[in-house]
């Protein structure tokens, strides 16, 4: 009964507070009567702040009042999307299709406030929490337009197959190959001077008896065409498939003040989810991405010790862990179903045949887990005019990975084996596939996961020195030491370019960590001395203007790789390569994949021979970045702020990937050997390290360089009427010698690769605004105070508009007849022909006549990215409209409708960039086929309290 009475009292007090009783009656001691109004105010201040619990000497429990709102606050929300609200994307309209299905719900809550446990703990002044949850349930239809084999081709009938110009494409019988007795080696190979003779298949049809049994069975898992979007049977397969996404995540924070000078904070988060990838086709041979289960966890513990008003000490422990499991069920028995034999693990193998949609996926089953620990101690103090800060940090990384890339084998099929040897635009990759003739084949045999470990130590000090009221200097110096990464069980291997290979006595042999006198790592300890300098200056003592100057020198650390790269010998990558792609296949599918030459682990120096061997950079070189900036901010009349900044940045020794670095590349001077380069045995002799096909440097070879100049003008306009405008214009020019999707042509003369960065957009404009409409009870118009206020109060609109010029055009020749010397062949410039067109449009974006296919066994003299021709620019306009309903001053319902690309603007697709020879031109070169984009609407509701 006594309990109930107390509870009733609490109810009454709470209700009274909620409905406006301002000052509960309170017993007051009788202080001396104030003499003046100021003394009266002070007396009231003391009494009020004591009653509200705002004083250190206040009683433990506060009297509730609207003046001391510190209860729990938060929100509940739902964001909803459905394809019925969206416009049909332009690319779908152009195909004559309909909108893709979309169902999406994003929901969650947030709540935070003091930690109060009735009768147990009152942390209303010192302990606070905040929790956010968000869930996503999404099913979105994805559409793809691809090119696949037409039904006739699936049965070996290539009589209807044509090239890009619509000219019939001849398929030749490899078994009919013979030496041309009339070949004149003094002249280039041509149709008039063939080195080898080969007969076309009668009627361009492969005899059924010649078709490979494995390929034929694999074809039964391959879809049939269902679209006629493109000419010449291109873009003949349209697929619509749902992508699913389910995720649940939470962020929670807890902070607690320990006495006056100590504060503990804990931030934690997790997310669990499942991402279901769309299918190109619904069989085990599908080549689209894997489904993925993932979870991530993070915890950050932070302790702050305030020694004095001038000295603060902070200690932080941060732990991050994430786990990803990717794969798809139903792969069991795939090898048996198609009859492919060999030392392969069960999954559908990867078959790739040039421009057609392939079969099978890389990494069909994988698991990776990353755990990162950060321990940071920072100290900040003041000494005279100097503000000093010191930071010490220890980082430890753990990466566990099981990522067999091609456990069931990867098979590449090219046109050469079914071509007229030496003549481009003959032969067909899919015909080569049907015959079972692979150009190259490899498999990944992984018995163990890899357990990578890395650590870093960093010390940093910064000083901010106030030279005068209007001039402040700042400087920073840091040293980071990173011992090289190790593998927990020393399963770490790399090619050592100085080690002699017993196979041929040439430099370059596989070496292993913690064996033969080597340390546990095959890399060196890196030291990163970094510095920065800056100043802020108010010219002439004018506080409305500030000029900033900055310079920084920094280095990238070596990443702890998240794959099983550099474990060769422990991981087997058996590889077979065609001795001459025009004359002889690497293997025939029906014969099965060759057995492993030696069981794993194979820890001999020649274990990586004849493969694309993993090569770890043995030097201590690190990517270096330098940047300098000058900016000026000026406050203008009318609450307007103008900012102008100029920046220059450059980088050297940037880590690049295999497309931009190949230490085993054959120098291009060897192109003089022309058709002899098709002979793998001969070509191998030209490589610096002939025992290797090439090197896999992952994305970690320090060979890239870049330079960037940029200028930004930004104007911000603020208005107390509720309107805010931001406009930003950026000009930039970035050059490099590594970027782009195709790679570089000449690995030995990087200066020839120097061109615009493939992602450089020279002009970018963005415009943002937010506007509270001037209507409603607190505004200038429609100031209703009756029921109508519910409809006119609380409207706001905001928008984001962005416009950008296109990225530089990267042109590609249609054929690459360089005997395998050049991975990324460039086009040839035609002298005297202007590449630009006067009336640029989708019918002709650039003049393809200004470019040509390089002659056989020559490189193109065109740039990697064109210095003037750009792809079409883009524009996007997003708009959000919000209506607030104030239920009480504390409870608000907010409805939001957001239109992404609300103008439903279509942006042109990039023009066709393939340049063919005069004999087989690409009739679509320079043309833009279609546009993309479409309006997307999201509606949301949020209740905040």
């Amino acid at each position: 009964m006594r309990h109930s009475t107390r509870w009733l009292a609490v109810c009454i007090l709470s209700a009274a507070t909620a409905y406006g009783w301002q000052q509960p009656q309170r017993p007051r001691t009788q202080p001396p009567k104030p003499q003046t109004e100021l003394e009266r105010a002070v007396e009231e201040f003391k009494v009020l702040t004591r009653d509200l619990g705002l004083r250190p000497d206040a009683p433990g429990k506060r009297v509730h009042s609207s003046a001391a709102k510190s209860g729990w606050h938060g929100r509940i929300f739902e964001n909803f999307r459905n394809d019925k609200l969206d416009a049909t994307p332009h690319e779908v309209v152009q195909r004559g299709g309909s909108r893709n299905m979309l169902r999406r719900n994003q929901f969650g809550f947030n709540v935070g406030g003091p930690v109060v446990i009735p009768k147990l703990y009152d942390g209303s002044r010192k302990t606070f929490f905040n929790v956010s949850y968000e869930g996503v349930r999404e099913r979105i239809g994805r559409s793809f337009l691809r090119t696949i084999a037409i039904p006739e081709e699936r049965t070996g009938d290539f009589s209807q197959t044509v090239d890009n110009a619509g000219v019939p494409l001849a398929v030749y019988d490899p078994q009919s190959t013979r030496v041309n007795p009339n070949y004149n080696p003094a002249n280039p190979v041509s149709e008039e001077n063939l080195q080898y003779l080969r007969d076309p298949f009668p009627n361009n049809r492969l005899p059924a008896a010649r078709m490979d049994a494995v390929a034929q069975k694999a074809v039964s898992y391959y879809p049939l065409p269902n679209s006629t979007a493109g000419p010449f049977f291109r873009n003949n397969y349209f697929v619509f498939s749902p992508e699913t996404n389910q995720a649940n995540g939470m962020i929670f924070k807890l902070d607690h003040a320990l006495a006056e000078k100590h504060r503990l904070t804990f931030n934690g988060s997790f997310t669990n989810g499942k991402a279901g990838s769309p299918r190109y086709f619904d069989t085990i041979a599908d080549s689209n991405n894997n489904d993925r289960d993932f979870n991530a966890r993070r915890g950050v513990l932070d302790w702050t010790f305030t020694k004095s008003a001038a000295t603060i000490h902070t200690f932080t422990l941060d732990v991050i862990r994430d786990l990803s499991i990717a794969g798809r069920s139903g792969q069991e028995g795939a090898l048996g179903a198609i009859g492919l034999r060999g030392p392969l693990r069960d999954a559908f193998p990867v078959f790739r045949y040039s421009t057609y949609l392939g079969m099978g996926r890389n990494n069909p089953n994988s698991v990776s887990s990353h755990t990162y620990y950060y321990l940071t101690d920072s100290f900040s103090t003041r000494r005279g005019k100097h503000r000093l800060r010191g930071i010490g940090q220890y980082r430890r990384y753990q990466v566990n990975a099981y990522l067999p890339e091609n456990p069931a084998g990867s098979f590449q099929f090219g046109p050469s084996i079914t071509s007229l040897p030496g003549i481009v635009n003959t032969g067909h990759p899919f015909a080569s596939f049907l015959l079972g003739y692979a150009e190259t084949a490899s498999a990944t045999v992984v018995d163990n996961p890899s357990y990578w470990r890395g650590r870093y130590y960093r010390l940093q000090t910064t000083d901010s020195y106030e030279y005068s009221k209007n001039l402040t200097f700042s400087a920073s110096f840091a040293v980071e030491v990173s011992p090289p990464r190790v593998e927990k069980y020393d399963r770490f291997a790399s090619v050592d370019l100085g080690e002699i290979n017993p196979y041929n006595g040439r430099p370059g042999a596989l070496v292993f960590a913690n064996r033969n006198g080597r340390g546990r790592s095959l890399q060196r300890t890196r030291v990163r001395p970094e510095t920065s300098f800056g100043l802020a200056w108010n010219p002439g003592g004018n506080a409305k203007s500030v000029v900033r100057l900055s310079y920084g020198l920094s280095y990238s650390s070596v990443p702890i790789y998240t794959t099983q790269w550099a474990t060769q010998g422990f991981v087997g990558i058996p590889t077979v390569v065609s001795p001459n792609i025009q004359l002889q296949p690497a293997m025939k599918l029906g014969d099965g994949f060759p057995a492993l030459p030696r069981p794993l682990p194979d820890l001999r120096p020649d274990a990586g021979n004849f493969t694309s061997a993993d090569l770890v950079d043995p030097t201590a070189t690190l990517p270096m970045y330098q940047s300098a900036g000058l900016s000026m901010e000026r406050e203008l009349p009318g609450q307007m702020i103008l900012s102008i900044s100029l920046g220059h940045a450059r980088g050297q020794h940037l880590f690049v990937s295999n497309t931009a670095a190949n230490p085993n590349a054959i120098p291009l001077s060897n192109l003089v050997y022309r058709d002899a380069l098709n002979n793998e045995t001969f070509r191998r002799t030209l490589r610096p390290y002939p025992q290797y096909q090439r090197f896999d440097v992952f994305s970690s070879w320090p060979a890239g360089n870049y330079k960037r100049n940029a200028g930004v003008v930004r104007v911000e306009k603020r208005s107390s009427s509720g309107l805010t405008l931001n406009a930003t214009y950026e000009w930039s020019k970035q050059m490099d010698d590594y970027s782009g999707p195709y790679g570089i042509q000449d690995f030995y003369h990087r200066q020839n690769e120097w061109s615009l960065t493939s992602s450089n957009q020279p002009h970018r404009i963005s415009f943002n605004f937010a506007y509270e409409l001037p209507i409603g009870s607190k505004k200038a118009l429609l100031t209703y105070s009756d029921w109508r206020r519910h409809f006119v109060d609380g409207w706001s609109v905001s928008g984001i508009t962005s416009l950008s010029s296109g990225e530089p055009l990267a042109l590609r020749p249609m054929f690459n007849n360089t005997g395998g010397l050049v991975d990324a062949l460039r086009v040839e410039l035609v002298p005297g022909v202007n590449p630009a067109v006067s009336d640029r449009g989708p019918a002709q974006w650039f003049n393809p006549a200004a470019f040509d296919q390089p002659a056989d066994f020559t490189i193109g003299n065109g740039p990697r990215t064109h210095p003037h021709l750009l792809n079409p620019g883009g524009q996007n306009h997003d708009l959000s409209v919000t209506k607030r309903f104030a239920v009480t001053t504390e409870r608000v319902v907010e409805l939001t409708a957001t239109g992404f690309n609300f103008t439903n603007t279509g942006n042109w697709a990039d023009p066709d960039n393939l340049i063919g020879p005069a004999s087989a031109p690409n009739v679509n070169a320079g043309k833009i086929i279609g546009s993309r984009g479409g309006r997307v609407i999201q509606v949301g509701m949020r209740l905040s309290f």
Binding site: E37, A67, S132, V136, N248, K253, E466, G794, T889
Partner: protein, 305 residues
């Protein structure tokens, strides 16, 4: 049993609460000092467009209680620049300007009661430890309510002055809408990342619409990212709607001048009490004239309180 009791009691409590709300009889309208100075005797007022009686005028030479709230948690170099500037400007105030010092970490807390003793004020500011979480948004209603209470119970001017370097990312409450599910590549809900803070600012604006205490602030560290811009814009809106003012510093060199400007604005503001007699709506619009000069005063008030 409890539910039944509550169901019986609540309607009665609501009626009683409504009945006991004291009707407001005046509005204290804050207005900035002008150049040339305003004439105390020349104030005229209109309420919702109709002439209204000016009950009382308090000007720059009258008593003032200045509630200085320190909301400093970030860069000590900026805070170190603000401390001496603030002490210098407060010391220079007239003797009838009493200054209280409060801090806003965790909850609003009194560091120093209002006092004419500048040494005590200076000591409180010097000893202030700049750690913890930003607290302006969570304490501004309480600070205004304290100010209103002082206005109600004494015949002085009252102003709340925040000295802040608060960054929206340093709040305990999550206004930044951080990504929770990093795998959600289709998430468009964060395209307008400032929506949460705009909503919070609007809610505060609604909550403070009934307050009569002008708010001033000096922000020591201007941030240019979209969420902080929305936050800073909201601060300015709160200050201007209350009849106060705000100023942002983009560099350390600006801090002394900004502090001087805003302390001066708070100390010299006018407080004009206007009779509130015939207003029946939930809001009131007040315009002040000084002679023939139109004054940029606090114009709109909510009467829900």
């Amino acid at each position: 049993m409890r539910a039944l009791l509550l169901a019986l009691l609540i309607p009665g409590l609501l009626s009683a609460a409504d009945a006991r709300r004291a009707p407001r009889t005046q509005l204290r309208v804050a207005a900035p000092e002008q150049d040339p100075p305003l004439d105390r005797a020349a104030f005229k007022a209109t309420l919702d467009g109709s002439p209204a009686k000016v009950l009382r005028v308090r000007g720059p030479k009258d008593d003032l209680v200045l509630l200085v709230v320190l909301d400093l948690t970030g860069d000590l170099t900026l805070i170190d620049s603000a401390r001496p500037a603030l002490i210098e400007k407060l010391t220079a105030l007239p003797k009838n300007n009493w200054v209280a010092v409060l801090k806003s970490q965790d909850v609003l807390q009194v560091v120093q009661d209002p006092t004419p003793d500048r040494e005590k004020t200076a000591a409180a500011i010097k000893e202030y430890a700049a750690t913890g979480k930003a607290g302006l948004l969570t304490t501004v209603e309480s600070a205004s309510a304290v100010g209103d209470s002082l206005l109600n119970r004494s015949n002085v001017r009252v102003a709340v002055l925040y000295v802040t370097d608060s960054n929206i990312y340093n709040y305990r409450e999550d206004f930044t809408n951080p990504v929770i599910n990093s795998s959600d590549s289709q998430d468009l809900s964060r395209r307008f990342p400032d929506q949460l803070i705009r909503e919070k600012m609007q809610k505060l604006s609604d909550g403070l619409a009934a307050s009569e205490t002008p708010l001033y602030f000096v922000h020591l560290n201007y941030f240019s990212d979209p969420i902080n811009e929305a936050y800073q814009r909201g601060l300015l809106q709160l200050a201007e709607e209350s009849g106060g003012a705000g100023v942002f510093c983009r560099s350390r060199g600006e801090i002394p001048e900004a502090v001087e400007k805003i302390v001066s604005a708070a100390a010299t503001h006018w407080s004009v009490a206007v009779e509130l007699r015939s207003v029946k709506s939930r809001t009131a619009n007040v315009d002040l004239l000084n002679g023939d000069r139109d004054i940029p005063n606090r114009a709109r008030f909510s009467l829900r309180k």
